[in-house]
Symmetry: C2
Subunit: 206 residues, 2 copies
């Protein structure tokens, strides 16, 4: 069974626990040879997904929420969690609060890579890389630390603020990096794909 | 007495309590007709400032700090505050902690406009504008609120975190907007210029 998660910059595939990905431009030339269950947040590939081998899972998800316009990737990730905070950390960081299988709301921050790029656009001296181990306790005493702190501390404080004592489920490319700044957290690399798999089983779609 | 603060994108002038500004490109064609006391964080205008009518105030500031490479604009702003947090909110937001005239450290976050641009670069649906009045208490229930919250909440929490009970001195283009999210805060539009004025008086440079 082949699954596909179409994002804004990349398209991820999942088969038997193995993931692969390609840029959206490459996906436009991709021709499916078998049935592919997909979700997509990318309107620019709508035509491509008209091929009947592509099966849209979006209509099958049933997430209780008052949020208007919740992205299908967030719906899928949240559907895998009953109570807790769901953090998908990629080019954007989406943060959603689940309680007893209801989605209570959420917010979006720019991702770590996006923030690094935005610092570089402000001034040459702010064009730095992210250190592998940043101590967020002492106040920074040089520019590289000041930028690293200015990227991570706001993200950490804002996720802590929404999480309280709830467990935090990280996914996405920067999820593993971010999770170590939180006590009650786990990293589920394939949270979205696992949610798609269980939806397909539950609805008998395969 | 004419003062000048050269930033990365704009150059600000100050005379008798009145400020004016121009883009850096326009400043490159500007010819001084009187003595101008300046500070500059912009290496690209170094040659321009060689004109002897330009008097660099940087060597005259004496800020106690262990921070290596603190920008002269931050040094000037911090020199105007004995104890408290100094926030200069422009294309970047610099945040510095002062205690009994010593600088204890600080950090840098992307500014509000920079963050809005970075959201727009991630996905078309995230290309939104900042609402004039954002309530940061309820969890967002739609995309515009989710982005607005994702811009402001991290900034507010991170400044609160460093400030504790200290007074917060805001300056910069977004300072007036930001200050209302804090109890113990004031907005000093010309904090940097006022610091330059008092330095000139103290050192008898005029």
């Amino acid at each position: 069974m082949l699954l596909c998660d179409v994002g804004n910059s990349r398209v991820k595939f999942y088969k038997g626990g193995v993931t692969q990905s390609m840029p959206v431009a490459e996906f436009m030339r991709y021709e499916p040879k078998e049935r592919i269950f997909f979700i997509s947040v990318n309107d620019s590939v709508k035509k491509k997904l008209k091929n009947p081998l592509f099966v849209d899972l979006a209509p099958h998800f049933e997430l209780k929420t008052a949020y208007r316009g919740l992205g299908i990737d967030r719906i899928a990730a949240c559907s895998a969690v009953s109570t807790g905070v769901v953090v998908d950390a990629g080019s954007a960081i989406t943060v959603d609060l689940m309680f007893k299988s209801s989605h209570l709301g959420g917010f979006i921050m720019p991702g770590i890579g996006t923030l690094l790029k935005s610092f570089a656009s402000i001034a040459p001296v702010l064009d730095v890389t992210l250190s592998t181990n940043i101590d967020l306790d002492p106040l920074p005493q040089k520019t590289v630390s000041a930028v690293n702190y200015g990227i991570l501390k706001p993200i950490v404080l804002t996720i802590e603020n929404i999480a309280g004592n709830n467990k935090i489920y990280f996914t996405g490319g920067d999820g593993a990096y971010l999770m170590r700044y939180f006590r009650n957290s786990i990293y589920e690399k394939d949270l979205i794909f696992k949610s798609m798999v269980s939806l397909i089983a539950k609805k008998g779609l395969a």
